[in-house]
Symmetry: C2
Subunit: 432 residues, 2 copies
Amino acid sequence: MTASPLRIGIAGLGTVGAGTLKVLRAHADLLALRAGRELKPVAVSARARGKNRGVSLDGLRWCDDPLQLAADPEIDVVAELIGGSDGIARGLCELALRNGKHVVTANKALLAHHGAALARAAETAGRALAFEAAVAGGIPIIKALREGLAANRITQLYGILNGTCNYILTQMRTEGREFSAVLAEAQKLGYAEADPSFDVDGIDAGHKLAILAASAFGGEVDFGAVSLEGIRHVTLADIRFAEELGYRIKLLGIARRTELGIEQRVHPCMVPLAAPIASVDGVYNAVVVEGDSVGTTVFEGRGAGEGPTASAVVADLLDIARGHKIPAFGVPAARLAKLPRAPLAKRKGPCYVRLMVVDRPGIFAAVAASLRDHQISMESVLQRGRAPDAVVPVVMTLHEATEAALQQALAEIARHDGIVEPPRMIRIETFA
Amino acid sequence: MTASPLRIGIAGLGTVGAGTLKVLRAHADLLALRAGRELKPVAVSARARGKNRGVSLDGLRWCDDPLQLAADPEIDVVAELIGGSDGIARGLCELALRNGKHVVTANKALLAHHGAALARAAETAGRALAFEAAVAGGIPIIKALREGLAANRITQLYGILNGTCNYILTQMRTEGREFSAVLAEAQKLGYAEADPSFDVDGIDAGHKLAILAASAFGGEVDFGAVSLEGIRHVTLADIRFAEELGYRIKLLGIARRTELGIEQRVHPCMVPLAAPIASVDGVYNAVVVEGDSVGTTVFEGRGAGEGPTASAVVADLLDIARGHKIPAFGVPAARLAKLPRAPLAKRKGPCYVRLMVVDRPGIFAAVAASLRDHQISMESVLQRGRAPDAVVPVVMTLHEATEAALQQALAEIARHDGIVEPPRMIRIETFA
């Protein structure tokens, strides 16, 4: 080992930071062999010094202020594992790059909001901005997009990007429980945050999707272009009807090249039971990438947690130690396109609709008339059981229609007598 | 674009070579943007000059002898897409490296037999030896092992590595036809070679497994360590029984770290229907990698064909254009370990056995006694239908036993009266 060590400063010693330190320690020899030089943690920063993190901090400089890491001339790369889209995490990354340090981060919110600016800062500094850990845990999907599949024009990608939602939907299906009960339990088990909005409303998946889309299409990260819809409205009844119809409900992030631009959306989907993504359950993530040469590829693994995330952070550090220089989003930052936004209203596809209706004759005739008036044709209608004058679910699957027509038809249907809740629509995606 | 172009010589203009040229042409701008320099095919070599390959050779130097590419001072990288474990392909790669050129190859047979020597030659020359296209088509699995998952100690990997076998097994199951009929049809359709031995006897999968194992464990490629068994003996009855028992039959390559060394084997397996790999059908390949930090990851895609293979070749060219230098098998060639071979005889696991027996009382008692004598316990026995004094299949699943004990018991059982064919054993893998 003659080459100089890569000197690493770690900011944030939560699950990911401590996990990263553990991997760097446990596999120091293996990493040095693979990189041709030592990957050497030299300094750390976190809020509380004394806390037991399951890993020794011996021999590491302690910094009360993470910005000290960005200023330290004895540090080559800063691993930003603090989190948050602004504030200290952002300031740290910006300062580190300005001071000529490489930056590795697991921070999807930061990249979703400031990815393009940070990529430009990295390019100006001639340093790496690496973020494998920001999307889909240990699955090397960013590397696949920037390198392994980079000979392709990517046509679409989609995936299960939030483990909390996938866990909740899986539990609802397998345990036969409603959303709120499963969420409460997930919170108790530590799988969901006290404020679950970030996960269950699709924001976290949206951050990741925006990063994937930028990496796949060579564009500026454009979180504002992602239409977001979470899983709060998915009921056990929907899940049961889906299975009966041959589908499974998954929260997907979808980024697709269309004639009108790039579609980016996160919402619950019904996917065919036979689709590879249908059987990705629990805390697993999966990303499907379609390229013009390679066809369909699938990447699957644990989407979060100490081990998988640390695996990704250290892989990025290894790339930097090996001297690899890849533009943050696969193309020079100065050449990142402004990806044209394809309006969701123009999306065309089939869907599932659940109505809560008072069970009496004539109501469905009005629904059917509204659909006809908007040129939408029904594929199937299901009403299970009878309960005269009580409220029952009626579900329909509708043939391909534009989103705009659907929304208009559903708004109209919502106003009919006997329709007691806003109609719930779940898009059907067959990825054909 | 100020950097000098990467000048590429392509040896072999079959499906893969022509496909590579097409991608380099079709995506010249995209690739230049991603690499920061032009990826420029400058010369080609193939047997017949005039043949229509669906891509123009205009502007390319033609070499009757591929070795000219290795000698050409105007070429930076040779893409060896000829094939074959020795002969011209090997000579070309050796000469190209000796002359200071990078080598990209799709040649699994060459790497399986001479991978370590070629890696050392590349290291001596200070040039890249890249072979993403040699394993699992367009799936960036070599990159995942050498880079994306390189922070892990890999504990095992396994996969569906031969599309022909997977196609045949899938067709047998879905069409209800026997091996020989499906093989004949696959040959007619061009999915299988006239001499199918390379595919159906597991040799091709073995080549790929040896390459994956070397990349995962940082060892010399050791094809001789791979125990090989193909799919010729798998019958439709086995496939049906497997489904009834909750399994699916797949030809898998498995490389596993054990206390006794590295196990490397290719053989038909029964895998649980719920395993992700069970639903990978037809010409798709899939590789499952387990690492100590990342847990279980799955990579899936088309395992062969013009597009996927070209995607992998061009990804390697892009890495070289970007100046990446990664040791061929992830660690310096001089440090490649001789992987200790774990003897198959010591493998412990459950299995399925099919006996063809004359249907009369008492035969099964003798079988049971033989199993007992070798300390093997039965989990289940199935005989469907009766046909007194005719030959019927009887299948058993056996609890975990060592391979040595199993082979002895089966050899003994084969000698019993009323057993009319050698017992057929299919190992059950649950990957738990």
